[in-house]
């Protein structure tokens, strides 16, 4: 039972960044823009979040409040950075994959440059303790308490709140319906008076906000509030894209996909603590490859009947019918 508690406690902080970033990717792709730059957006958000925490950590503010403020900073950073993608992909009608790739390449270099010049290291190291040993009241619930409210981070609760908000925006509002229309058939959407350019900007911006938050939560939940330009976010932006495809561009399915991937990764990093797997004596690197191999397998089975938005990747041009 302790092993199960341990796995869940460690899995959730990993699942949340994947979930948020995949939701961001979903908003962007359902509006018709492929956002392969999520990796870069994550690192950008994580960097500014960590920088904010670094500057404020001496002020004696409560750690959880700092986390919330850092989240806002990261969201703003992600939003600003995603404007580069929407400008190129929507206004300039450029190739979305290439633009996203350039955004991915820019940020690790910029983070390294900045950190080397100002901190004389490869990243930012903070000493804020975001870890929550046990939440009041909720942590005392039997079974569920140890699973969800002990030895965890605030990010887990925020992540699920954002998921619920996303579902409501996506399915229950006029905005969500219009956004989805722009990804399926922008010409039709335009003909009934929806501003396709605006909706696509909105979709990419939402992915920027969620990507930034996801990046910061990665740095909080996995790297303990630090960020490093060399390892970045370890391909989580790309994994999130796979999560999104596995989740068939639908929020609730994306959640299950994120949990699945997070479980694999947690398993990979806690082999030494699980006696029966440790006894097998398999090289740990195999387990590290597991999430990526699993992505390949999952995609192989799901891509044939893929429900990708029809108009994704195609710049919208009013003149073309």
């Amino acid at each position: 039972m302790d092993t199960i508690y341990y796995l869940i406690q460690n899995m959730l902080p990993v699942a949340i960044p994947l979930l948020l970033v995949a939701l961001g990717g979903m908003f962007s792709e359902r509006s018709g823009v492929i956002n392969i730059g999520l990796e870069g957006i994550m690192l950008f958000g994580a960097f500014f979040g960590a920088l904010f925490v670094f500057t404020i950590q001496g002020a004696g503010i409560d750690a959880q409040l700092v986390l919330l403020m850092g989240m806002v900073v990261a969201a703003l950073a992600g939003f600003v950075y995603s404007l580069l993608l929407s400008f190129a992909a929507v206004t300039m009608k450029a190739d979305q994959t290439i633009t996203g790739t350039s955004l991915n390449m820019l940020i690790p270099a910029a983070v390294l440059l900045f950190s080397k010049m100002f901190f004389n290291s490869d990243g930012i190291t903070t000493n804020m303790g975001f870890f929550i040993r046990k939440m009041p009241v909720l942590g005392d619930i039997p079974v569920l308490g140890p699973m969800f409210f002990q030895k965890t981070y605030l990010t887990v609760i925020i992540g699920f709140v954002i998921l619920i908000i996303s579902v409501i925006i996506f399915y229950k509002t006029k905005f969500g319906l219009r956004l989805r229309a722009c990804g399926e058939h922008p010409q039709a959407a335009d003909s009934v008076g929806i501003n396709v350019y605006f909706m696509r900007y909105a979709g990419v911006s939402l992915s920027g906000i969620l990507g930034g938050i996801g990046g910061f939560f990665y740095s909080v939940g996995i790297l303990d509030g630090n960020i490093n330009g060399h390892s970045g976010v370890a391909g989580f932006g790309f994994l999130a894209l796979a999560v999104m495809i596995f989740g068939q561009w639908k929020p609730i399915r994306i959640m299950f996909a994120a949990l699945f991937f997070a479980f694999l990764r947690t398993l990979a990093y806690s082999i030494a603590l699980i006696p029966f797997l440790n006894d097998l004596g398999i090289n740990q690197t195999y387990y590290k490859m597991l999430p990526y191999v699993a992505t390949m397998v999952v995609l192989a089975f799901t891509s044939k009947k893929s429900r990708a938005p029809k108009a994704e990747g195609i710049p919208y041009d009013k003149a073309k019918r």
């Binding site: 580069l84 290439i98 690790p108 440059l113 390892s231 790309f238 690197t285 044939k304």
Partner: protein, 380 residues
């Protein structure tokens, strides 16, 4: 990019025809993207350290000239990965997995270098071919996934970057002959497996650059003069039309990815098998779980060269040139990462440089027309 320019002088130099050609606009678009990238880099340098910005920027621009041998040596691998990306691009495939293919190729070359005992003169050739095979292996899988399972090649090849990197690092660390644990790097390669040097003192430049240029020219011929090349480009222009015309789309996808993988793999072999300027040593590899940057730089090279093999020869040399300059800018306190930023910005702008180029062209034309009309009015 160059072909149109050389054809025109036959009927006298016709500027209008030249500026209208597709190659010319690709060339000016590349120049525009480079200019914007360099300007951005300069701004970053000013922000980082205003006093040294000018001397640092001068290093970036012209620093590579004094070390042309090194420029060519470092151009070799990115020329190969650039060809790997560009070749797949012509078919409409985005081979972001050049890094993984490069790493695999490098590993296969290393393995042959250390574990096989072959006579001098054959050893390095076999090692290069092994590198090609390794890259092909890592290219064929995303190709098969794309062709038969309809999985987006971008995602699969990214996953294969990670899988390849972890796999190679694990195998190297587990091999006592290849890996020196105390120095956390690979051992020095035997001299029989090092590619013969071109003999420029103080640099590692070797036969690899010659091979890379020959391969680029061969690819150009394949693309422009063979049925396969024609089918490849046709599929890139319009997949459905190509299918309708009876071209074997699936076979071509797999074949393209195999060739692209082989190119990137050879890039890895060229990089690791290079002779060292210091006798008794060689290039080494550090298995530190980082994805090879040369693969991503290949994307920049391919885009700058507008995916034309001949263009890629020049763009690889250029990128390598500013990379050398960036290393030299370290002398005045700038970090070489500045060049990665410049390259990323160049890619960003080259994604829509063609459109921007056309817009600027229209703008200038409109200005000229206006002036024309004005003078006509005044004449009346």
């Amino acid at each position: 990019m160059q072909d149109k320019q050389t054809q025109t002088p036959k009927k006298g130099f016709d500027l209008k025809q030249l500026t209208k050609s597709r190659g010319f606009s690709a060339f000016t678009a590349a120049l525009l993207a480079i200019a914007l990238g360099l300007i951005f880099g300069f701004i970053v340098m000013i922000l980082a350290n205003p006093d040294k910005a000018i001397s640092g920027f001068r290093y970036v621009l012209v620093g590579g000239l004094g070390r042309f041998g090194d420029v060519l040596y470092f151009a070799t691998p990115i020329m190969m990965t650039g060809l790997a990306v560009g070749f797949a691009f012509r078919m409409g495939l985005f081979n972001i997995g050049a890094s993984g293919q490069y790493t695999m190729g490098m590993f296969f070359a290393l393995y042959v270098g250390f574990m096989w005992d072959l006579p001098n003169g054959i050893h390095w050739v076999v090692a290069i071919l092994a590198g090609m095979l390794g890259g092909m292996l890592w290219g064929i899988i995303p190709g098969l996934f794309k062709a038969f399972l309809n999985v987006n090649e971008v995602i699969t090849s990214i996953m294969f970057n990670y899988i390849g990197m972890y796999l190679v690092d694990m195998i190297i660390q587990g091999n006592g002959v290849i890996y020196i644990a105390s120095k956390s790097r690979t051992n020095y390669l035997p001299s029989t497996v090092q590619i013969p040097s071109l003999g420029i003192t103080g640099s590692n430049v070797n036969l690899g650059i010659i091979f890379a240029i020959i391969i680029a020219i061969a690819l150009f011929i394949v693309l422009e003069r063979t049925t396969f090349g024609y089918e490849l480009k046709a599929t890139g222009f319009n997949k459905y039309a190509a299918d309708y015309a009876g071209m074997k789309g699936k076979r071509n996808i797999v074949l393209t990815m195999v060739i692209a993988g082989g190119l990137a793999g050879m890039g890895g072999a060229f990089a690791i098998l290079a002779p060292s300027a210091i006798a008794g040593s060689s290039m080494t590899y550090e298995p530190i779980n980082i994805i090879a940057a040369n693969g991503f730089n290949g994307i920049a090279v391919a885009l700058l060269g507008s995916s034309n093999p001949i263009g890629i020869i020049f763009s690889a040399t250029f990128i390598s040139h500013i990379q050398r300059g960036g290393t030299l800018a370290n002398l005045v306190g700038y970090k070489p990462e500045i060049i990665d930023i410049v390259i990323a910005v160049i890619i960003y702008f080259s994604a829509f440089a063609m459109i921007m180029n056309a817009a600027i062209g229209r703008f200038i034309k409109a200005r000229i027309n206006k002036r024309h009309q004005k003078t006509e009015k005044e004449a009346k």
